[in-house]
Symmetry: C2
Subunit: 148 residues, 2 copies
DNA sequence: TTTACTGCAAAGGGTTTGCAACATG
DNA sequence: CATGTTGCAAACCCTTTGCAGTAAA
């Protein structure tokens, strides 16, 4: 991921501090793992990366980091929840491609014109429904290369 | 839902029979509940509709109905899984609007031109990624009318 | 020094499964 | 009648919570 890691780290610290939370030895590796992950990571993946960390702490830290706006919860397949760094920190707006078979999640970006066209269409949809559309999430289901 | 219920029912029976499964008293009410539901229903909603049914049977029947292509699993919020009748039976292609706050799910359709434009864009995305895009699912996250 | 945070283990809650009885084709 | 199906209850698995000790600011 081509992100300035230090700047990203500062962003996390700033957000934590702003909410009266601390930047601890248990949070740091979680963020680091999310930085190096090439897509939304499951909790068990994060736990496995650092056996030192207690599962419960990872759960709690992800909750805090989400609360603070540093990470985003990604709902993909039916089983596990996944997390990724918030776009506010990565400056990499993207959407998700979900494999309907195995549940793996990938990221993709839309070209600027496609993105704005889509946003326009969605805004119209939002007006005609009982939903306020903000395109906070656009997930697509397909089949990944590894699946039949 | 403006669907020919008898035809739909026949479709379910046909699919079950084709897979060597039986159309039973436990499956019928599940399908009926999905027909009357105005959107993807959670399993607990389905169980509550007919207290006669054992939870485990509802789970198993939904799995069978999905296997047979009669119902579709909808992944929405982080907690509960939802199910809806397969489009092959309802002939009502649609996408989903998910409330990012409370998790409620609504359906929506795209105008034909918007739909085909979107499909074109997605086909291009699929080619540039490791995914085979088939637009089997297009879920959008917004905020429902009932949430702040 | 205050109080957020951590680890451990136990509790929760939705989903799955084993098994014996039952019902469908 | 052969075998798919059902109910019940126990087993599972991921996630959450209580608590006492620890460590950030």
């Amino acid at each position: 991921m081509s992100v300035d890691v230090d700047e990203l780290h500062d962003g996390v610290v700033r957000r934590l501090a702003g909410a009266g939370r601390r930047h601890t030895s248990g949070r740091r590796p979680v963020v680091a793992a999310l930085v190096s992950a090439d897509g939304p990571a499951t909790i068990s993946e994060l736990v496995d990366l650092d056996v030192q960390l207690a599962q419960s702490s990872v759960y709690r830290n992800l909750a805090v980091l989400e609360e603070v706006g540093a990470v985003t919860r990604v709902v993909a397949h039916d089983d596990r929840v996944r997390f990724e760094l918030a776009e506010a920190l990565t400056h990499h707006p993207h959407h998700h491609l979900i494999c309907g078979n195995c549940g793996v999640v990938g990221d993709f970006e839309l070209a600027a014109d496609a993105e704005s066209a889509l946003r326009g269409a969605l805004a119209r949809i939002g007006r005609s429904t009982r939903f306020r559309m903000d395109l906070r999430r656009l997930d697509l289901l397909g089949t990944c290369a590894a699946c039949p």
